[in-house]
Structure formats: C-alpha cells, structure tokens
Amino acid sequence: MKDIKIQVNDLSLYYGEKKALKEISMQVPANKVTALIGPSGCGKSTFLRCINRMNDLIPSVSITGQMLVEGVDIYDKNVDVVNIRKKIGMVFQKSNPFPKSIYENIAYGPRINGLKDKAQLDEIVETSLRQAAIWDELKDRLDDSALGLSGGQQQRLCIARTLAVSPDIILMDEPASALDPISTSKIEELVHELKEQYTIIIVTHNMQQAARTSDHTAFFYMGELIEMGKTNDIFTKPAKKQTEDYITGRFG
C-alpha cells in the first residue's frame, strides 16, 4: 500500500464569485513525482498554489474543502501558514533569486529560521548546492551576485534555496518553461534524483516532460480534475475521452 502524502477532498477555489477549481479530490503519493497537466487556464497552477497556501496572498480568493498533508488539514484555522511553507517548498516558473550573493540566497531560509552559526550555514549552503547539482559550478563564486547567473543556473539556485529549508514536499510550477533544452534536461535529471528524498508535484504544459519525469499524472481541464493515474496508464490507455483528446493533441 503506497504512502499518501497529500489527500485532497472536494477542494474548490473561488476568485470572488467565479469558481476556478471545482471539487478537486486526489491523493498524492509520497516520494514520487506527480505531474499536473492540462491546457492553459485549466487551474493546474492555481491548484498547485493551494498546496502551500500561496493563494492566501490574493484577497479575493476563498477556498472550501480539505487539503490534508500527512493527515493535517492545512486550511484549518489553528495551522500556522509560515510553518506550512517551511515544509512545502515552491520553485516558480520564472526564477526569482534575491538581489543578493549566491551564498546569501541559499542561507536566506535557514537564517529566517534563526540559524546564525556560520559553520552550520556553510554546510547547509554546500549541501543544498550539491543536491541541486550546481556546487562545482558555483563553489568558487559564492559571494558573487545571484543575478549574474544564467537562466538555467538561477533556476537551479532557486531549487537549492528551496532545499536549504529541508522541506518534505517540493512544488514546481513549470520550472523549465523559460529555459533552453539543455538546462531543461538538467532540471529534469534533478527532479529524478530528488524524488528519493522528497515528494514532488510538478505543473507542466509539456506533455513529453510529464511523461519523462513523473510517476503519476493528473489531468486538469476547466477547473476540474478529469483523470489521475500512473503516468504510463494515462499516456497509453487513458480512461476518459477528454484525456485522450488532450494527449493526442486534439486540443490544448
């Protein structure tokens, strides 16, 4: 019986009066890569942002239903959203390093949590950059500005920055869509290595990427979860016609 990391029960999201997510129910397995696919505007990114409560930042948003992470409803009133975000990290579509040095970018998270000891910070910086497969490239220029890196390097830096706070779950919102093919494949390799330690949910509009990198796939359309299953099954024998139409390129 596989481990369920996240259990979603009838989650709906409203932008004011407009219903953007319609009673989403799904299970996200632990230590696997789950891909969310679907045409533009289908709600996959909105759903992703529900998992670490980033939609809280939008004043007109209201949410009903349950999002249980390891059994705890993260939308419960007693839950501290700051702690959730330490446990559930996010990598954004466009890399967003702070205008600080590479070292300071990675050390940002641990410092926020109160860590001051330089030796410990050094260690975390090195570990995170190694995990993101970018230590060798950057180890001699940790004090350089992060803004001087290439797009692909910046994105891997952002991944390392997320890893530095030791999350359990990593959310990735189209992490490679702004990158060239070589950087993209580096990111995909990284996702593959990281899933041993982390649960990864990745939104992608690139179906080949979903097929390559993920173990499970969920297909969204117009705010609804149409179908979810093992990636192999979804791509070779989808149960719903809509899924099949999307995968074969009939729309989207």
Partner: protein
C-alpha cells in the same frame, strides 16, 4: 508598359512635400532655440552669481563670523545653522516618511479608507505654500507644544515656547515629508512581486520579508527622497522665518533650544534689512554661491552613494 509619372502627379515630388519639410525644420529649430535659451539663462544666472560673489568668496568667508553690523566678515554661523537644520530635519522626516511609505505599499489593503486618507493628506501637503508651514510651525510647535511643555515642566518659564532649531527642523520636516514618502514608495513599487513571493514561499513572515527583501530594495528610494528633501530644506526660507532663524547670533547654537542662522535667510536679510544694501551686495552673492555649492555637493554625494548601492546589487 510603365507610364512615367510626371512631377505633378507623383506624391514623392511636389511643393506639398517641400512645405512639410520646411515645417519640420522650423519645429526642430524652435526646439533647439528653446533649449539654448534655457541653458543660456542658467549660465547667465550662475555667471552673475559667480562674478559678483567671487570677490568675497574665500575660505575665510566660509569660516569666519560676520562683523561690523554684517557688512564685513563671513557666514560661518549661517553655514553651520543650515547644516544643523538639514540634519535634524532629516532625522525627523526620513524614518517617518519611510515607515509611511512601507505601510502604504506593503500593509494597506486596496479598499482601506485609512490608506486613502493618508494618500490624500500627502498630496495636499505637497502643494501647501511654504509660508503656511511657517505659520503652522509658529502656532502648533512653538505656541502650543512649546508653550505647553514650558507650562508643564518649567513652571511657565519661557524656554521651549519660542523659535529654535527643533521647531524649525520639525516644520521643515513636514514640508519635505511628501517628497520622501513618494520617492520611497516609487522604489518599493519597483521591487517585483516575485521576490516577495519567493521569500514567503521559504517560510518567512511578512515582517521578515519586509526587513530582509523589501527594505534593502528601498534604500535607493530613501536616498533619492533624502536628497530631494535636503535640497529643498537647505534653500527654503519661509518655514523658518518665524520658527527659528535669527538675524544675527554672536555664537554658534549649543542646543536644540537655541536659535540659528541660515544661508537662505541670510541672503534675505542682507538684501532687505541690512544697514547698507549696496555694500553688502558682494556678501549676498557670495552667500548664494555657497548655498548653491552646498546643495550641489550634497546632491552629488547622494548620487554617488546611490550608484554604489546599485552597482553592489548587480
């Protein structure tokens, strides 16, 4: 067979185009003339000031006190007075303005009536004539606050209820507050939303995000606002007319409750109330020159600081 189009039919030729060309050249010419005039006027003014003031302008002038009923001597106390005024004004206005800007940008919600009221007040404050600030300073700071303090703490003895550095600086701070708030707000707005999101997504609180990401990004705006405020504060005279500027002081001010001399005010009294206006002309011009140089160097220093900060964050 292509028909040869005569000069009269082809739109590429003809007097109509020539007319347009002439109009175009005229407009360019007028623009160039306007630019030339502006630069010329600037240089004429600067030239007159430098020419008339050069005789008096010297190290001795800057470093000595006025003598002989202010017809001779230097402007040292006015220089120091202006400097103190600007410093105390900045200490009062910059933190207050920065916090206000941070509140408006980071904390106030879209529909907040309070924020709307604050913004309206700032806009109104920005267009109030400076003499009104002077009157406000007299009525509120000196008579109400200062008088009140004297009644409560000094048993009615007059110490704070009269013109001095602190009241003049606070009055000037009110004058320059809108400019600081607007500059800081502008800088805060240039910080992209993605950076705040990145910080929050790492598990930072809003306050941590402001302290570590937003505030450092606003420093250039704070510098710009401070430059503009200081430039204004060094030159404005109306707000300090009744709130602290003095005609003549034999010694430098020793505490915030003392009065002070001021460069701008000095030029004013030299040109209207001195015993011999003709004789003091060179002093007036030299004082103006000193004020100009002071303002310019302050601007330069702040611009340098700002560009150094920009380079560091690249």
């Amino acid at each position: 067979m292509d028909k040869v189009i005569s000069e009269f039919e082809n739109p590429f030729f003809g007097s109509k185009r020539r007319g347009e060309e002439i109009k175009g050249k005229l407009v360019i010419g007028l623009t160039q003339l306007a630019v030339f005039l502006i630069i010329a006027i600037l240089f004429i003014i600067l030239g007159i000031i430098v020419y008339q003031g050069r005789e008096k302008f010297s190290w001795e002038f800057i470093s000595s006190f006025p003598t002989d009923g202010m017809t001779k001597g230097g402007i040292f106390p006015a220089l120091i007075g202006t400097f103190i005024l600007v410093v105390v004004m900045s200490i009062a206005a910059v933190p207050f303005g920065t916090i206000t800007a941070i509140y408006l940008t980071e904390y106030a919600s879209e529909n907040s009536k309070f924020a709307a009221a604050v913004r309206f007040s700032i806009r109104t404050l920005a267009v109030v004539p400076s003499i009104i600030f002077g009157l406000f300073g007299l009525g509120f700071f000196i008579q109400f606050l200062g008088g009140g303090i004297d009644n409560v703490f000094n048993g009615g003895q007059l110490r704070w209820g009269q013109p001095n550095i602190i009241w003049a600086s606070l009055t000037m701070a009110l004058l320059t507050l809108p400019v600081i708030i607007v500059s800081v707000e502008e800088a805060l707005k240039t910080i992209p939303r993605e950076l705040r999101e990145a910080s929050l997504a790492l598990g930072a609180t809003k306050w941590q995000t402001i302290r570590k990401v937003v505030f450092p990004g606003s420093i250039s705006g704070i510098m710009t606002g401070t430059i503009l405020a200081v430039s204004r504060g060094a030159g404005e005279v109306a707000p300090i007319l009744f709130t602290g500027a003095a005609y003549y002081l034999a010694t430098l001010p020793k505490s915030l409750s003392d009065q002070f001399m001021n460069l701008g005010y000095h030029v004013y009294i030299m040109s209207t109330q001195s015993s011999d206006v003709e004789k003091t002309m060179p002093i007036q011009f030299a004082t103006t020159l000193v004020l100009l140089i002071l303002t310019l160097s302050l601007n330069l220093v702040a611009v340098l600081i700002r560009s150094r900060i920009r380079r560091k964050s690249k």
